[in-house]
Subunit: 429 residues, 2 copies
Amino acid sequence: MGQGQGDYRILHEAALRDYLAEQPDLVTLLGAEPVSWSITEVGDGNLNLVFIVKGDRGGVAVKQALPYVRLVGESWPLPLSRAHYEYLSLSKQAQLAPGLVPALLHHNEALALTVMELLEPHIIMRKGMVAGTQYPRFVDDITSFMARTLFFTSDLALSAAEKKQGIAAFAGNHALCKITEDLIFTDPYRIAEQNRWTSPYLDALAAELREDMELHVAVSRLKLKFMASPEALLHGDLHTGSIMVTDGQTRVIDPEFAFYGPMGFDVGAVLANLLMAYFASAGHERSPGERQVFEDWVLGTVEQVWNEFARKFLELWRDEAAGDAYPISLFAGEKGAARLEAERQAYMRRLFTDTVGFAAAKTIRRIFGLAHNIDFELIEDPKKRAFSEARAVRLARGLMVEAAAAFRTIADVTGAARKLRDWMPELSG
Amino acid sequence: MGQGQGDYRILHEAALRDYLAEQPDLVTLLGAEPVSWSITEVGDGNLNLVFIVKGDRGGVAVKQALPYVRLVGESWPLPLSRAHYEYLSLSKQAQLAPGLVPALLHHNEALALTVMELLEPHIIMRKGMVAGTQYPRFVDDITSFMARTLFFTSDLALSAAEKKQGIAAFAGNHALCKITEDLIFTDPYRIAEQNRWTSPYLDALAAELREDMELHVAVSRLKLKFMASPEALLHGDLHTGSIMVTDGQTRVIDPEFAFYGPMGFDVGAVLANLLMAYFASAGHERSPGERQVFEDWVLGTVEQVWNEFARKFLELWRDEAAGDAYPISLFAGEKGAARLEAERQAYMRRLFTDTVGFAAAKTIRRIFGLAHNIDFELIEDPKKRAFSEARAVRLARGLMVEAAAAFRTIADVTGAARKLRDWMPELSG
């Protein structure tokens, strides 16, 4: 901290070794001989450099932001300040959801560099799901993470002054928000250079979405909500590629898209990525029904993620509501308590509607936009992939356009998904 | 600007004269002999010092914030920074709605002092309405002010980055927002030391509101919307006491409550204060029907304020939508244009529902909360006053609880008001 922006330089292996060797706490952790440390660049994300550094005593992960989008190159600049917002939100999440994010070991604002606990033997959850692995801790951990980080940064837990300070502290992260606004809420619905899809099979479906004005209105409402509803501090990119897991542990990583936005965006991201894993599963089976147990687990997990999140969020609201919203003094006595409880349920119904809408937007962008995911991408046969994708899009279109009317409970969502499991859409080409 | 906070001191007459005499532009404007300037303190608001300064060439108005609430005294401190936010919002309003706010002549951040155009012979609109005066320019001017200041600071006109910068720039004004949160959205609905009402006549009605849980839910939803829906830069206190008028001119003053909030709060404030003037009118008549023409004008004005505001706002949206919300590229062709137009209408219906809800909250606070208004207060006979107030409350309760269902157009609101004009409620005492 305190270093000027002018001190930024990209730390490749040698420079990184020298830099870490100057940090006594890290030397203690890694082992006293920097020359013997192994340093491996492992970043498979779209934006940053990520190194794993191991010494004879221990290891760390080092993340450094680049001044551009790694996936695209210097032609797409992106502010280094995102490392600041990532550090700020990680610190907040560590406080609100202890044990569910990597421990922070070191941060250098000028270098846009953060050193964190090395997560080992954790793997990216998305990879595990492609392989058909079940994660028994996942529901409890991710719902605790979401319920606690969202509730405690909302108007239900904070004074209006604290809330406004929080909003202002993250307002500068608008370049990362803009990526979401463009790539999720806009480009997949129009001709855009960066769009791609499983062609030719989904050509007609892509064209259909570009002409579907009900869908355009629905996604535009979601976009406006994303931009102008600072309900809580979001992770902002909570897909299964931002979650590292073992059988017994869950860690949420990479909150560089953090800002104050609508809660349903985070919850919807988790649900969307589970639903995509479900629809992709048919494309990964080597024999019919091979992954049925896994698929049942996925849909059960979709239901439990919503139900447990809602239960924990409501429990926090009942027990720890210190915020300026819904002041308890207006709901005194038995009658007041009953009316407030009914309003809590109504609040959760509105949040559910937001959630399924955002889940739909997150799904469509992964099939027609710039950034795809390996759930679908690793299905080698493009026709099989297109079937899985078309089923996911069919559900997403319904979730977005008919959200409030047709999908009143999470069981309505999983029921619709199950019905589409073996649906054979007409493909182009 | 640039002076430290330590330079603050309260400028009473002599010190103010010395200070103004050091500002060459103001000396030019007022006249070269400071000793001959007349300086009169005229502040009748609740928060600040206001001086009128006149020399042989011209006059100015000087507003200085006090570090506490003037109405209450030093026991209720209030940050001087509100003068900064007032200056910031006045500058923005002057740019967006030229000619509808007083011209800014001088600002001293450290002294929390602003010198403005002297509005003469303008009077506070509320005073004119108590006297039964009609203002032919009012509808056109106030709807231009609202449509332009709200539209051009919204996501419909700004990029998401500009919008977030705007929100952050006003986030520090939370102490003023807190006054609104407490005095408008909370205290009138519970026992609070600062509440008062026309007692004993409204005692039973006050008790009824404190037990009315449907109303408490409705006002709590509005409070949450006020805190967490930064749709546009609001004036934040847009009642008829913040509007100065002549037959031919309208000037909106005193935006120290400015912040990014829900548009309906400003529009609702105007409607509420017109409706209160309507209900108060019966209490000011010396013979039955004496003020009928005025009352018809008021209700006609209520209708026109909404209709003209909506018309101008929609016109701006059609012609000047440069913002990130509802991107035009998603609504191409005839079919797209038609669907977007339908969505604009739906947007205005949602805004109308917000507006009548906020109008109701603004009404109830003036009858049961700390700050009352002279529309009612100048009705000398307390029983007559209570009748007028009870009618306004009856309408407000309906607007807040049944807003979307029962009041679909502004004519529904004025129709309900007209029916209540001669309603004789049962009073206490």
